[in-house]
Each structure stands twice: as C-alpha cells, then as structure tokens.
C-alpha cells in the first residue's frame, strides 16, 4: 500500500511537471495566434487599418487561415533568411490589418530548417500532413526550396518560392517563383551583365576572370547544364556566354562553400588581371575576396557579384566602389511605382530596425519575398478559395501586380516568365540601378572602373 501511494504521488507529480513544462503543442492548427501576427486592435497603427475612403478595414473573422513554411532560422543561411522572416511577419501583419484573407485572419507558422534541405523536406511534410496548414510559403535557399517543392508536389500544394535558382529542375506545375529571372537564366543573366559592360564602348572589358563558389545555383549560372532539359536551353552558363560574346576568359577558378580565406584565390585573380572579374558567389564571399585583393594591393577594374550581401558590400567602402550585381527590387523609382512597393519599404525598414539589422533597405531578397506573399494572396483572392488547383489555375491565367512589376506565369516555360532583372552598381557609396537605360535610377549609367 505504501509502495502504491509512492508510485501514485511520483507519477502525478511527474505528469503535472511534464505537462506544465511542455504546454500545448504550438503547432496545433487551432493554436492561438502569436502576438506579433495577431490582428491589430488599433492604437498608433490605426492608420494602416483605414482604407482610402477613410473607413476602417473590416475586422477579419472566422477560423484563421493557416499558412506554414520553414526558413533557415539557424545555420549558415540564417543571416539572409532573417530578411525573409521579417518580410513574412510584416506582410501577415499588414494582411490582418487590412481585413485578412477571404475575410478571415491569417496565421503564419514558421519552422527552422537549420539551413538543411533534409530538414526542410521533413518540416513541410509535418506542416502539410500533421498541422494541416491551408497554404504554404517556400523556404529560403536553393537546396531547401528544391527539397520542399517535392513535398508540396506530393500533396498538390501551391508552392510560391522566392530564391531558388535551379530553374531547370522545377517542373512542378503549381510552383510559382518570384525571383523572376526567366527559365533560361543561365543564358539571360550573364548576357545581360556582359551587354551592360559592352555599353561602355571603348572601355568595355575584353578579358574576364571567373571565380565561382561550388554552390548549386552559382555553378548553374556560371557553367550551365549539359544537354537540353525540358523547356530549358542546354549549355549556357556565363563562361560560354562570355566566349560567345567575344570575351577572352583568362581565369576559371572554383572554391568550396564555407571558404573564408581568399588569399590564394586573390593571388590568382591579381595575376590574371582581367578587365572584368566575375564572382559567381553569394553572401559575404564578395567582400571577403575584395579584402584579400586589397591586401595584395590589387583593385579589380570592373567587378560583378552574383548575389552579394548588399550591406557588407557598401560597408567595404572604396574597396567595393564600382561593383555590380543583378537586382529585381530597390527602394527607389522606378520600383516604388510598383504594387505595394512603398508599403514594403516602410514596413521592412521598421522591421529590420527593430531586429537590429545593420542594412535596413529592402532589395532583391526582400522584394522577392514580398512578391511571393503577393502572389499567394493574389491567387487566393483571385479564385476566392483555398483550393490549390483553382489557385494555381488563376495564377497561370492572370497577370499579377507585385513589387517587382507585373508577373505573367507561363505554363510552357515551367511557370517562369520574362527575365526582369536589372544591373545595379555601387556609385558614390550607394547602390544604383544602371542598366538597362529605361530602368536606371536618376539618369545614372554604368561606370567603368580604372582599377590598378
């Protein structure tokens, strides 16, 4: 008897402890909305709830619409994924302030894929098959997106995504990319870059040196693919496009993901001394390479970076002056005239400042992310439903206004449209769009560098 009562006491205490510590499963479909995504009840932000005619937006009601996704909240891609997290929080907050989706409040659940594709696949399985989310938003990073897309396809979910770069691999008929680079980005992107430099006339580069990160997306853009794959043009890649356009390739060097010591690579770049340095890399690779080049006393005459971290590039000061990159959104005209652009700029800056980010201007990453949310909402509002077939059908048959401009998805191009990228350059310590002419900001144009 004594033993039994000890057992009961022990188990009761343990149960209470475990249950109290654990609490309810936060990913249950009917879990309460997080504070930061709950509909605003007024106060200082009341202006955001008021329509143009001065009437308050109707309060969303009914069961929340659950939107789930994963992001690299930890791991090597976390710094950039933070941009997508801020955009998602700001967009959902705005959506709820403006009456929700289909008149219902929206709840956004984000899980951490730890920058691992394997985790990403498992988390989307969880979101769809356990949490029963109504809609999903793609994660950040080519690997994670590619893995998650296969899961979305398995369950027939509409899959908007913002940063995947292996365009040839995405044959799912309900995926909707918002990094609007066209299906044959391995041809069109380098061609656009070299055409911009061609516009320099007598100062146009004659030789080019390639430095490429062994990352799937940058590899595809520099080296292309072997043979034709579906609707994709075979070959391509910046290396071949450069040769086709008459440039002399004087260096082709690859480096591993995670490389931070660029001194050996910098030595090779300096020795090659090309007119144009083409850095097929991402994040802070560019600034690290520039720092190593500076240690050798070498400044590239013209230099292009595939996907740089914009803040650190600006912070590099004189070292980065004249650097170019591609962009699909910048916080000034002509982009500010696009649908929702000013809202993105205002809200993103506020969110980024609150998070303590050093660079608080929205650009390509934030633009693609905001556009992905716009596409998802447009599809749902367009069909007035949560049926994935109907949402996809609506998106494929209607133009969609976004912060990047108007999207028109083409089913025969694996849901890609035109390449709408422009070329930007660091001039006088700031990023400015310089090519093509009709998109250039403040009458700016590409400037040739003098280098050493």
């Amino acid at each position: 008897m004594r033993v039994r009562s000890r057992w009961i006491a022990l188990l009761a205490a343990m149960s209470l402890g475990v249950v109290a510590c654990g609490g309810a499963d936060t990913t249950e479909p009917d879990a309460a909305a997080p504070e930061d995504t709950a509909p605003d009840d007024g106060g200082d932000d009341a202006e955001g709830e008021t329509g143009e005619d001065g009437e308050a937006a109707p309060e969303p009601s009914g069961d929340p619409i659950q939107i789930g996704g994963a992001l690299a909240l930890t791991g090597p891609f976390a710094p950039t994924a933070k941009i997508h997290e801020i955009v998602a929080e700001q967009f959902v907050e705005m959506l709820n302030e403006q009456g929700g989706l289909l008149g219902r409040p929206v709840e956004w659940t984000v899980l951490d894929d730890e920058s691992q594709p394997e985790q990403s696949a498992a988390l989307y399985e969880r979101l769809i098959t356990q949490d029963g989310v109504d809609l999903v938003m793609g994660p950040y990073g080519t690997g994670s997106i590619t893995a998650a897309m296969a899961v979305a396809e398995r369950y027939g979910y509409v899959f908007p995504h913002h940063t995947a770069s292996l365009t040839y691999a995405y044959t799912y008929d309900k995926h909707f990319p918002t990094w609007f680079v066209g299906l044959n980005t391995h041809h069109t992107t380098p061609r656009k870059v070299f055409e911009a430099y061609e516009s320099l006339g007598d100062d146009a580069p004659q030789t080019v040196a390639f430095v490429t990160n062994r990352f799937p997306g940058t590899d595809f853009l520099v080296y292309g693919v072997d043979g034709d794959q579906g609707a994709l043009r075979g070959g391509g890649g910046a290396l071949r496009v450069a040769e086709e356009m008459g440039l002399d390739v004087v260096l082709d060097l690859s480096f591993d993901i995670g490389t931070t010591d660029f001194s050996g690579i910098a030595q090779r770049v300096a020795e090659a001394d090309a007119d144009l340095l083409y850095v097929g890399a991402l994040g802070e690779d560019g600034t690290n390479l520039l720092a190593s080049l500076a240690q050798l006393g070498y400044t590239p005459r013209n230099h292009f970076y595939q996907w740089p971290a914009p803040g650190p590039m600006l912070a590099a000061g004189e070292l980065a002056e004249g650097a170019t990159s591609v962009t699909i959104f910048e916080p000034y005209e002509p982009y500010l005239s696009n649908e929702g652009a000013q809202e993105l700029v205002d809200r993103y800056r506020a969110g980024a400042e609150e998070e303590g980010l050093s660079y608080t201007d929205p650009e390509t990453q934030a633009g693609a992310s905001w556009a992905a949310w716009q596409v998802l909402v447009a599809g749902v509002e367009g069909c007035q439903c949560l049926d994935h077939d109907e949402i996809a059908d609506w998106l494929l048959n209607n133009p969609i206004d976004t912060v990047q401009g108007t999207f028109e998805y083409r089913a025969d191009e694996q849901n890609y449209g035109d390449d709408i990228q422009t070329i930007k350059q660091i001039q006088d310590g700031g990023w400015y769009v310089v090519h093509p002419e009709d998109a250039a900001s403040d009458g700016r144009s590409l400037q040739a560098g003098s280098g050493d």
Binding site: V3, R6, W7, L10, L11, M14, S15, V18, V19, G22, G23, A24, D25, T26, T27, E28, D30, L73, T74, V110, L111, D112, E114, Q116, P117, E118, Q119, A121, A122, L123, E125, R126, T129, Q130, G132, T142, G143, S144, T146, A147, M149, A150, V151, E153, R154, L166, A169, T171, N213, R214, F215, P216, D219, F220, Y223, S254, D256, I257, G258
Partner: protein
C-alpha cells in the same frame, strides 16, 4: 535448440509480431485516418535506427570509434541520386547498388587501416573522419558525382503495390531497420559478436585466445557500410535534393554517435532506444520552434548519460525496467487526457518522463528495491569469453 538460443521459437515469434504490428500501421492510418505525418515520423525514426544500429555494429561492439558514417550514408544517397535522376533507374534497384558502393568504400577503408597498426585509437577516428571529408570533397569537385551542382531527385518510380510515396518510404524504411536490428541481435548473440566484444575489451588478449581480429573488424566495418549505404539510398528520395554540403556534413555521424552512446553501445537494442528518444525529442522541439535549444538539450542528455548512465539507457532499463515503462505509459496517457497535443507529442512527454526515472538513483525510485544489478547488455545473454562485468562498472574502453 537450447532454451537460450537466440533463434528459439519464442524469440522469432516476438520479432515476427513486432514486424507485423509495424507493417500494419499504414493500413491502420488509412482506416482510422490519423495524421499522415505519423507515418513520415516513423519512417524517419526507422532511418535513424538503421543508421545508429549500423554504426553501433562496428563502433559499439568492437570499440573502434568511427566518424566514417557520413561517407557510407552519403555514398548511398549519391548512388541512388545518380542512378535515379541521371540514368532513369527506378528506386528499388538502386538500393542494393547503394549498399554495394558504400560497402566497398568501407571494405577498402578497413583493409587499409586495419593492416596499419599505427592507425589505432584517436588516429583511427581521425582517419575515418578524413575518409568522409575526402569523399565529400571528391563529390564536390568531380562533376561525374556532383561537382557542387547538387542533384534534384524528383519522384523516382517504384512498384505501385507499395502505395503512396509516404507508404513506400515507410515499408522499405521499416524493412531496412528491422533487418539491421535483427542482424545486430544475431551478431550480439553469436561467436562473431563475442569476438567483437573481446576486441573491444582487449584486442591483444582476443588475438591470443584465437579471435581472428582482422577478419572480424573488416567484416563488421563492411557491414556498417552496407547498412548505412542502403538506408542512405532510400533517404535520398525523402530529401529530394542531394548536395555535398549537406550530405557530407557532420550531422549524421554526430547524431548516430549520440544515439548509440545515449542508448547503449553494448546491446543491439541500445541504438534503437537512442534513435527513438533523440529523434522524437528533436522533432518535437524543432516543430515547436526550439531547434537550437534541442541541440543544447541533447548535449546535456549526452553529458548526463555519460556521467550517470554508464552503458547507456539500455543498461539501466535492463536493471530496472518497470519504473520507466510505467512512467512512459502513465505520462503519455495523462498527457493525452489533459492536453490537446498530437500523439507524437504526448509520446515525447512520456519518453522524457521515462528518461527522468532512468536517471534517478535507485533509492528514490519506488519499486526498485535496493537497486539489484543485472549483468550488462552485450554480456547479458552470454558471458563474453569468460568475463562478466557489473553493470555499473564502466565498460572497459580500449581507447580505439
């Protein structure tokens, strides 16, 4: 057949019953319509059980600490990805090839390292790590494998009778895990296992009494590679995008070591326990937004288990099985009644409760009497070459 024979009818019947029960779950899911994620979750548990068991067969039983798991797992993944995505093979035929490729890598590594006696102890562990990193670097730079591009897998073909992709992954993952664990069970209970335990206890003594140590080590290392490779091959379909950076990271080696050490390395059931516990807790914490915290918790569990559960969970569970099992059942049931959580979440609560009970000293756990000690796992069924260790005495490490 003696009453202690590992393949006695009662044992075989128990294995068959477990296999049948687990195989019936997809059908039950269809009938009772419980969340499909439960199948996916179980597939992932099977994956980790197979990986941890394969590591433990070599490193746990023989005492040689290997970091080569990533190489075998990655070789399996890439074999399936290359054959499936580039050459149009259907999924199932790629799996034996994945096993063969990984097994061959293991065999080649074993022949090299075990013939060089200076590659022992920490050097052996470092060497296996170098092999894994080297294969990762090779795949990252050689376009015939990957070249840094990554391989999107898409949906590979498989026989229709295996059902949906989730069901197929479940059935094949279950089969691989069951076979791996059954092999570990058989090895533990036969002469081969006794030889491996002898190598672990003292290799020179083992050699002196006639254990063919080289043959045993090479054989079990190759088996480690075969199981890791076939399991990795199947997992490629689950991951869908294979890239060197994520495939050959330290995640898999670290997790299998953690699972085996926490679960117990001297018993076939140790890695199974470790995999179920650690994957369940990790999955629940990640899903609740505590992915980073889960890593800290796992580190604490590892430290605590190393300090207070010598021999791992399986040892303590064999010593006093009733209190943790009662805690598991009771807390799971109470959580199910009091909370609105999913089945996996309430099971996780139960597991944590059972773990706490396992960690408690015998004197404060009701029903354990004076904490009667049993023989340790690994030596429980059959004394290893005459040795019989006390469970609370740390298994002798030979430093390999």
């Amino acid at each position: 057949m003696s009453s202690r024979h590992p393949l006695r009818p009662q044992v075989l019947a128990a294995w068959a019953l477990v296999a049948l029960l687990l195989a019936a779950i997809p059908t039950l899911q269809g009938i009772f319509d419980f969340p499909l994620y439960n199948l996916i979750f179980l597939y992932l548990v099977f994956f980790w059980v197979a990986q941890a068991t394969s590591w433990n067969l070599f490193s746990g039983y023989s005492g040689y600490f290997s970091f080569g798991q990533g190489a075998f797992f990655g070789a399996g993944m890439y074999t399936t990805a290359i054959l499936g995505a580039r050459h149009g093979w259907s999924l199932l035929p790629t799996l034996p090839i994945a096993a063969l490729v990984a097994g061959t890598i293991a065999l080649a590594t074993a022949f090299l390292v075990f013939r060089l006696r200076r590659l022992s102890g920490e050097i052996f562990a470092l060497f296996t790590l170098v092999v894994a990193l080297g294969i990762g670097a090779l795949s990252n730079n050689w376009t015939a494998i990957d070249g840094g591009r990554g391989i999107p897998l898409g949906q590979l073909d498989y026989p229709d009778w295996l059902g949906s992709t989730t069901q197929m992954l479940y059935y094949v993952g279950l089969l691989i895990a069951l076979v791996a664990v059954f092999i570990a069970y058989l090895i533990q209970h036969n002469r081969f296992g006794a030889g491996l335990f002898a190598i672990r206890d003292d290799e020179k003594v083992a050699e002196a009494i006639g254990v063919p140590t080289l043959r045993y080590k090479v054989g079990v290392f190759a088996l480690n590679g075969v199981i890791a490779g076939i399991s990795g091959g199947l997992h490629a379909q689950q991951v869908n995008f294979i890239s060197p950076g994520s495939t050959f990271s330290l995640r898999v080696p670290v997790f299998v070591i953690l699972m085996s050490v926490v679960g117990g390395r001297r018993h076939w059931f140790g890695p199974v326990l470790g995999a179920v516990l650690i994957y369940t807790v990790t999955d629940r914490m990640s899903g609740a937004g505590y992915a980073e915290l889960s890593q800290i918790v796992l580190a604490l569990v590892l430290i605590t288990a190393t300090l207070f559960l010598r021999g791992g969970i399986s040892t303590r569970l064999l010593e006093r099985p009733v209190p943790p099992v009662v805690a598991l059942v009771a807390v799971t049931a109470i959580s199910a009644l009091l909370t609105d959580s999913t089945a996996i979440t309430v099971f996780a609560y139960g597991l944590v409760a059972a773990l706490v009970v396992l960690f408690l000293p015998a004197r404060v756990v009701p029903g354990t009497g004076s904490g009667r000690r049993r023989r340790p796992p690994g030596g429980a069924a059959e004394p290893v070459l005459g040795r019989d260790e006390d469970a609370d005495v740390a298994p002798q490490e030979s430093g390999r």
